[in-house]
């Protein structure tokens, strides 16, 4: 219910202006400046050369495609791991569900360095997996897991799994029991019911979760920094390298803009998909 009254515009401006100006000056302006940095090199003049250089350089192309590819793999893994589990969670009695959901949120509330550090212990030279392989005589020397794509994928999947589980559970919660019972009593088996009733009715949550996981994975910094290092760069670690180690702010700005455009494109796709659904 909306209230309308005289002087409304003045009130609205007073309410919104402080925060609006803050975001405008300290968030929007820096981004505009970033955009200008990417097309106006220090030598002067407008140029798109930075972008051409980026997409023509073999290294940046490999890094960009690797980032997208790993993002897709992580999204796929999260989807497979959470889908059936989310269904179980959504069908649980409320008390037990709320306890289990708080365990899902817990990792989300712990900093990424702490969470990624665990993978160094699991995958390290003397880590859990290598000790097991060595003691079973499956390998003679420790296998290098750190600084591999597998390590980054595992780390990212663990980091972003909650972002897939949460929207899936809240979408599946809204499926009435009657609908499932109707399908089962009319002769559909459980798999058919799952594929033809549950999946379409939870597609909202699925699309949202996939978007969150994918955009999170392609922009995450901590996990690729620890588990990929400078040997296996992703876009975020490439940005950091260009800015801090190579001091090339122009090239770094280009990488940054490509990252923004990538996440915007994915979010736009989400909107289109949502518009189609409704």
């Amino acid at each position: 219910m909306m209230i309308r009254r005289p002087n409304q515009n003045r009130t609205i401006i007073l309410l919104v202006a402080p925060a609006f100006l803050f975001v405008l000056v300290f968030f929007v302006l820096p981004l505009i400046f970033l955009l200008s940095q990417s097309v106006l090199p220090e030598e002067g003049g407008f140029t798109l050369q930075g972008y051409l250089d980026f997409f023509q350089s073999r290294v940046s192309r490999i890094v960009y495609l690797r980032t997208l590819r790993l993002g897709l793999i992580v999204t796929g893994i999260c989807l497979v791991m959470s889908y059936p589990a989310a269904f179980v969670l959504a069908r649980m009695p409320a008390r037990r569900r709320s306890f289990l959901m708080s365990l899902v949120i817990l990792p989300l509330m712990t900093n990424a360095v702490a969470r990624t550090f665990a993978w160094l212990i699991i995958l390290g030279r003397r880590g859990m997996i290598n000790q097991t392989l060595l003691s079973l005589d499956l390998v003679e020397n420790p296998v290098r897991f750190i600084f591999t794509e597998t390590a980054i994928v595992l780390g990212l999947a663990q980091l972003f799994l909650p972002l897939m589980v949460l929207p899936l559970v809240s979408a599946m919660e809204n499926i009435p029991d009657d609908v499932l019972e109707a399908a089962l009593s009319l002769g559909a088996n459980r798999l058919t019911t799952f594929l033809r009733i549950v999946v379409p009715l939870s597609s909202d949550g699925l699309v949202l979760g996939a978007t969150l996981v994918f955009t999170g994975s392609v922009t995450a910094f901590v996990t690729p920094a620890i588990l990929g290092g400078s040997r296996l760069l992703l876009m975020s670690t490439l940005l950091r390298q260009k800015a801090v180690i190579l001091f090339d702010q122009h090239a770094a700005a280009v990488v940054a803009v490509v990252m923004i455009l990538t996440t915007l494109a994915v979010n736009l796709l989400l909107r289109v998909l949502r518009a189609q659904q409704s």
Binding site: M81, A85, N111, V113, G127, M128, A157, V165, L239, R240
Partner: protein
């Protein structure tokens, strides 16, 4: 409808989600410095080391001050925005909503990088000021969204009743609306605090000599040392978070806002 293999998938999900925490926990008490697994012996040395490393202590205070300050400021400035969005219909409301959700759509590392370049352009700025601006900006989406949700649950007629009985709008807001959204404010506070306290990407570029946040200093420690000190510190942070989140969840039902 729920079959046995679905329960198995639930067990796999939770082991993957929580297993790493158990491993960190075990490693933080292990006596061997090289992180060999399983840990041998038992020691509290790594916990002692956390408190003896001044870089962690200093950055902890930076993170704590930063999280408190930016959360409070983003709430105080975000609350009027949420109020305007939920109580009035106005021409630019779509734009306002977009601009306040934008900081969530832009990668944190990019925000930090863009802000650093912009602050350099503006001239000398204290490291802490830059961090404060960056964190406040990224918290607006959370505070505006959570407060809006809690305002939507509150019947506007309650407020109108106060006004028609002689309170002005500000008094009506302070005495009627505010007390009724305590839970929403507290939830927004916890969410904002944790988001700021754990942030790495925005802080990374904005941190400066001597002024670093705790997660960033953990990251740079890892570049030089590879011992269980980080595991011990992580264990302490997990305990801190569990207490905070479980309290918030029990009292406020935090998961509905995430």
């Amino acid at each position: 409808m729920v079959s046995r293999w679905m329960y198995i998938s639930l067990v796999i999900l939770y082991s993957f989600l929580l297993g790493p925490f158990i491993i960190i926990f075990m490693a933080s008490f292990g006596a061997n410095a090289n992180l060999a697994f399983p840990p041998q012996g038992f020691t509290l040395d790594w916990f002692a080391n956390v408190f003896e490393t001044s870089q962690f202590i200093d950055s902890f205070w930076v993170s704590l001050q930063l999280a408190l300050l930016s959360t409070i400021v983003s709430l105080v400035m975000g609350m009027p925005v949420a109020y305007a969005l939920t109580r009035f219909q106005f021409a630019g409301s779509g734009l306002v909503e977009t601009i306040f959700s934008a900081p969530i759509l832009v990668p944190g590392l990019v925000i930090g990088f863009a802000m650093l370049n912009f602050f350099v352009l503006l001239g000398d700025m204290q490291v802490m000021t830059g961090l404060f601006i960056g964190h406040t900006a990224i918290l607006f989406p959370y505070s505006v969204r959570v407060i809006s949700a809690s305002l939507r649950n509150l019947d506007p007629y309650v407020e109108d009743a106060a006004v028609s009985l002689g309170a002005n709008r500000l008094r009506g807001f302070l005495l009627v609306v505010l007390p009724n959204m305590q839970a929403g404010i507290a939830a927004a506070f916890v969410l904002g605090f944790i988001t700021s306290f754990n942030n790495v990407p925005v802080s990374l570029f904005l941190s400066g000599p001597g002024v670093t946040t705790l997660p960033v200093s953990m990251l740079s420690y890892l570049e030089y040392y590879f011992d269980p000190t980080i595991a011990a510190l992580s264990t302490l942070l997990v305990i801190f978070t569990v207490v905070l989140v479980q309290t918030a969840e029990r009292v406020l039902g935090l998961s509905q806002f995430v």
